[in-house]
């Protein structure tokens, strides 16, 4: 078994705001992140897959194809976007890093071949804050 990681990045605006709560409660719970006019981040995305190395190619998976899948199903939909407003697969979700990592997993998982398992989505919201999701 080998683990392979592709690092990508995108940037986006968002806010943390629960529409079921009033403005005061949102500000108490989410602080500055609740700013109505949005704020934003440079997200760094680590996609780790795992599996056996194919004898013929020496590859676990062609990283160029992995890169294209991430681009098509994740980056093209998130980069330079407003996560709360522009992204279909985040609709009605709180746009936290936790939920974003899970949503990225769900975007990629169906498009990987059977022999390759998605192992981890690691997502940095800032250089000092990141989450990891292993699909369970």
């Amino acid at each position: 078994m080998v683990y392979l990681t592709r690092i990508e990045h995108f940037n986006a605006a968002h806010k943390l705001y629960n529409p079921e709560w009033d403005k005061e409660k949102n500000e108490v719970v989410f602080g500055k992140c609740a700013n109505e006019n949005w704020h934003g981040h440079n997200y760094e995305l680590y996609v780790t897959i795992k599996g056996e190395v194919m004898e013929e190619t020496g590859f676990l998976f062609d990283v160029k194809i992995l890169s294209l899948l991430i681009k098509q199903y994740v980056l093209d939909k998130l980069d330079h976007k407003n996560l709360n407003v522009d992204v279909e697969f985040l609709k009605n979700k709180m746009c936290t890093t936790e939920n974003l990592a899970k949503a990225i997993w769900n975007q990629l998982h169906p498009h990987l071949p059977q022999a390759v398992k998605l192992h981890c989505i690691k997502l940095y919201e800032t250089p000092r804050i990141f989450v990891e999701y292993f699909g369970d």
Binding site: H9, A12, H39, G40, N82, D86, P127
Partner: protein, 138 residues
Amino acid sequence: MINKVSVYRKEHFNAAHRLNNASWDAAKNETVFGKCNNPSYHGHNYEMEVKVTGVPDIETGFVIDLKMLSDTINDHVIEKLDHKNLNLDIPEFSKLNPTAENIVIVIYNILREKLNSDLELQVRLYETPRNFVEYPVT
């Protein structure tokens, strides 16, 4: 010989923005600014390096007390810009495009006013880990 030394303080903030020239139509804005023109904004983790140059004080050995520099940056720059929408929340950008170039000039002007005029000041601003600007040019 004057023994000048540069000292640096790194700080960070994050913000939303968009690049748009109000005197152009949507098509031209999109051609020039591409994805950065998205009407619903996008955002960045900005990292800044503030460089202060001067002769260390004989009594303290400091060019500037770095705690004081940190407080000045936090009180006048970070508090103002962090978790904000640069286009909507910051008066300086109501008519000025919030490019990294213009943001670094705004930050420099804010800090320049607060620091002793004997000290030289230069600000480097990272918009992403790969894109950064510096002002003033020496």
